[in-house]
Symmetry: C2
Subunit: 260 residues, 2 copies
């Protein structure tokens, strides 16, 4: 256990940059999980923890779980409560965070990808939406996630937190485009989820065979090339003047229909 007191300590600066910058996360191949539950999730999922950082208060308050996590962390650091707060991404920090190597789920994903139910996220931009989608996908029982590389960063603190740790457990891959994934995985029946009265209703689709459902950007929906690559399209029928659903809600209804 090493005590850090200086704000300009290299590790503290590294953590601050990992919290704030997607580009820096990509370059360093590391990301941050904050909070007792998320750090325990990382530990239980055998994620590679390069540093466990805790506040003085947390060191006493969460002694048992910190001891457990510290045994699998390459480094273990204690900082003052105020130094922890200055780094934290949350309003009331619990005082526990981990620096974690970005996960490689591609082998796991490849093993299952011919036989399961998958979501393909095409340019989903909002970290809260992505976090909610991952959380819902795990809770309802989706087998894996495909993301186009123009989706928001899965390692952003908001996504990691919003996913309730699903990011550690769900198999996923990041592909150049969803169109490409669909075209090279024809063993999966592919569906484009669109807002269009002229296509099939989601309730008329039989999702029993292995399949992938593509979900698009919050404002613009799916790319045209993605829709064209899919075997067919469906829509969620809607009523009322607004005739619209929140993006995370629409995705959740699709996930539910796909698996239930």
């Amino acid at each position: 256990m090493i005590k850090i007191t200086a704000k300009d300590n290299p590790l503290i600066k590294h953590i601050n940059k990992l919290i704030k910058s997607a580009k820096y996360r990509k370059e360093s191949c590391e990301f941050i999980a904050e909070g007792v539950r998320l750090c325990e999730d990382a530990f239980l999922s055998d994620a590679e923890i390069t540093a466990l950082v805790v506040s003085e208060t947390a060191l006493e308050k969460y002694a048992d779980v910190i001891k457990k996590i510290s045994q699998s962390a390459s480094g273990f650091y204690v900082v003052s409560n105020s130094l922890f707060s200055s780094m934290s991404d949350t309003k009331s920090p619990q005082g526990v965070l981990c620096v974690i190597k970005t996960l490689d789920k591609s082998t796991l994903f490849d093993k299952i990808k011919d036989n399961g139910k998958f979501l393909a996220l095409d340019n989903v931009q909002d970290p809260s939406n992505l976090g909610t989608i991952l959380r819902t996908a795990e809770a309802v029982g989706i087998d894996g996630i495909v993301m186009s590389k123009d989706c928001c960063d899965i390692y952003s603190p908001k996504v990691v937190r919003g996913s309730m740790g699903a990011v550690f457990r769900l198999p996923y891959i990041i592909t150049e485009t969803i169109e490409e994934f669909i075209k090279s995985n024809r063993s999966l029946t592919s569906y484009a989820s669109v807002v269009d009265r002229n296509v099939a209703k989601i309730t008329d689709i039989d999702f029993n065979a292995p399949c992938v459902v593509a979900i698009g950007n919050e404002g613009n929906g799916l790319k045209k090339a993605t829709i064209e690559a899919c075997n067919s399209s469906f829509t969620i029928p809607m009523k009322g003047r607004a005739e619209s659903l929140n993006a995370a809600v629409a995705a959740s209804i699709i996930i539910w229909e796909l698996v239930k």
Copy 2:
């Protein structure tokens, strides 16, 4: 059309208080809708608009819709862009807001209440969740909403905005308790939505008869008295380590199963 320039004009002060205080909204029986679309929604729903307030830029930019709304508003005011921004609840205000009399939907609700599908919200606390629930309820086709009086304020700017105007169109009532509503409306089959492996799965319920589904607080679920008053309970089956859904997502899946 009256021009207002002073920050301490009584109407400006009134609007600021309506935006910020649920208590003040209750006392004055008025609330705020902000944004072109929402103000048009209020107009189209025959809400009683006591004041239409627009910025100088909006007056030109949205001339047609402002003219339309102003004809049914008791007062019509123009303010500088900076004065509008100082009042606004949003980051990039469009420059259009209405002061509106709180709606009385109880007559409408009473007409339909023996024959339809209803949600009963028991102490739902988060305005974003309430807004999303109202928006989803309208889009999917719920007939009406019952809220316990300890729910967050349906007239909070966040709820009005998040509902995408559903607040103007959905019949709803606010009752002392959901328990009381269920006990005095036995023509509706009542269901408690709970997290409990020992009750029926939502997919095993036949929601064909007129019914009401009770949804509880984000952290604590339904009150015990509400669950006991209901004819039966159901749960959304969940997998994964987290075994949890975001409150708005869970409500959306329930709404979807109830109506689709």
